[in-house]
């Protein structure tokens, strides 16, 4: 009975559910003051209330659109530059050391500068997300292309594959598993950057909701915001995993598990 539950699909949910129950009990018994941490039910109530007023979806919408616009721009640039530097030695010599130098600056350290440049509007936050997402995708694309089996490239040459056909049939699929690792890292960086950026300066979004609630001592809303970030992070990671399973279905270690 026990082993059956432990091996079933719901097994990963057991620990979070237990934590929620204990948290609720400790709150009800007064062991945790409601001024330190509201109980899960209170947080859920806040969620329902904000959903009814429509604010919750509005905040989530603006956070998600920032995240994905930033991801598309940063990921796109990272992928193209990675492709260029992976294929061409000359481009790599010219560009890579500069990119590595910029990479070593923590991008969140640029927040004061970014605010001075762009104000606290959308551009500033998207810019930071772009920076956060760019490097993992760039690095893993270069690495993926570099680690393609040279035997396969030679084979492709013997069979007359050149230019776009070589790229489509050999280089891109060969680098894909590494690129997708980059995507998963990038998604993590994407939420992290966004949380910090929205917390420091924003007039909409989940981070704004949390900071606003702090002013009114609405601890339940603050906790709700944190949970929302966790859920969104988990969702995008799951999406990346599904993408891996779909794109790498030929790969023995990614085949249905």
């Amino acid at each position: 009975m026990f082993t059956r539950i432990l091996n079933s699909r719901i097994a990963p949910a057991i620990v979070p559910i237990l934590i929620l129950i204990i948290w609720q009990l400790l709150g009800e018994l007064g062991w945790i003051s409601s001024r330190t941490l509201p109980t899960p039910l209170k947080v859920a109530e806040a969620g329902v209330e904000l959903t009814k007023s429509g604010q919750l979806f509005q905040y989530m919408g603006s956070s998600m659109s920032r995240a994905f616009i930033g991801f598309a721009i940063g990921g796109g640039i990272g992928f193209l530059l990675g492709l260029l530097n992976g294929v061409s030695q000359t481009a790599n010599r010219l560009l890579d050391s500069t990119i590595q130098m910029v990479r070593n600056v923590p991008h969140l350290a640029l927040i004061p500068l970014v605010i001075l440049w762009f104000g606290i509007g959308e551009t500033a936050k998207i810019f930071l997300v772009v920076l956060g997402v760019f490097f993992p995708i760039y690095l893993n694309t270069v690495h993926g292309i570099r680690s393609i089996d040279p035997g396969l490239v030679e084979m492709a040459k013997v069979y007359g594959l050149r230019g776009y056909a070589l790229y489509r049939d050999v280089i891109l699929p060969g680098a894909l598993s590494s690129i997708l690792v980059g995507v998963r890292y990038a998604l993590g960086f994407m939420w992290l950057t966004l949380i910090v950026a929205e917390t420091i300066s924003a007039n909409s979004g989940i981070g704004y909701m949390a900071m606003n609630a702090r002013e009114f001592m609405r601890l339940d809303v603050v906790v709700l915001a944190i949970i929302l970030y966790a859920v969104l992070g988990k969702l995008s990671d799951t999406a990346a995993k599904l993408l891996e399973q779909w794109l790498l279905k030929w790969h023995p270690s990614y085949a249905k598990r």
Partner: protein, 254 residues
């Protein structure tokens, strides 16, 4: 593909290849008539794979020339196909799509027909990752032959296979060669494989041709006394040199 096509005539004229200061091949002269099955044997590092890469157009000779039907080989040619030791299938393409790489017109029926010839038509939709080593090599063979090459180059294609699969593959290669009549160059370090398959065996030592024997056995070949005669003839030639070398440098151990 049933019509017997004429193989290419191959002429190696004083070809040599140097990597830095090291001469890997030096003034190799070779004339291979159309449709001949020739095997090149030798110890590892003797230059036999380099000779094959020159013929394939993957490397350029530093001296001399390699000529295919009166035309000097400069780079990769469409009528030349190569089978590598590892099958080199694209793991992200199903078998039939891997074979399709060899089809210029992109006609899937041709790819399926080639798979049928190597006896793998029912695995056409599989990923290469789930096939055995021998099956993968057969898919690679189908990919090489589907373009109807006039010259087939085999770079120790059976080296990584187990003994039984190897015999099957030898049979398959011999059958397809008899049927289609392409010129074949097989590089191998297995002398008995060379004697089993080739019309003619060349031994390369230190970048030179040391021995050139015509194997005058009837096909299909049996491992009888005559077979052993040829095998011993070539092996003795390879090993004798080794014994001399060993006497000179007694510290050298196997």
């Amino acid at each position: 593909m049933q019509t017997a096509q004429l193989g290419a005539r191959l002429l190696v004229q004083g070809a040599g290849k140097q990597f830095g200061p090291k001469k890997v091949l030096d003034g190799v002269e070779l004339h291979i008539p159309p449709g001949q099955f020739i095997a090149i044997v030798g110890r590892s590092g003797c230059g036999k794979s380099t000779l094959l890469r020159l013929i394939a157009g993957l490397e350029e000779p530093t001296q001399g020339a390699v000529i295919l039907d009166d035309e000097e080989i400069k780079g990769i040619r469409e009528d030349t196909r190569m089978l590598f030791q590892d099958a080199r299938l694209l793991p992200w393409k199903r078998c039939v799509d891997n074979v399709l790489i060899g089809v210029k017109s992109g006609d899937k029926r041709k790819a399926l027909e080639a798979l049928r010839q190597v006896g793998l038509q029912d695995r056409a939709k599989e990923w290469p990752g789930v096939l055995s080593g021998g099956q993968r090599q057969r898919v690679a063979l189908a990919r090489a032959l589907v373009g109807e090459p006039r010259l087939l180059l085999l770079d120790e294609p059976l080296g990584a296979l187990d003994a039984l699969t190897r015999i099957d593959m030898q049979q398959l290669i011999e059958d397809l060669w008899t049927e289609q009549g392409f010129t074949t160059v097989l590089v191998t370090h297995d002398v008995s494989e060379a004697v089993a398959l080739a019309d003619r065996v060349i031994l390369i030592e230190n970048g030179h041709i040391a021995l050139d024997v015509a194997i005058t056995l009837d096909r299909p070949r049996e491992r009888d006394n005559d077979f052993v005669y040829f095998e011993k003839l070539i092996l003795d030639r390879i090993l004798e040199r080794d014994r001399n070398a060993q006497r000179k440098e007694s510290t050298y151990s196997i």
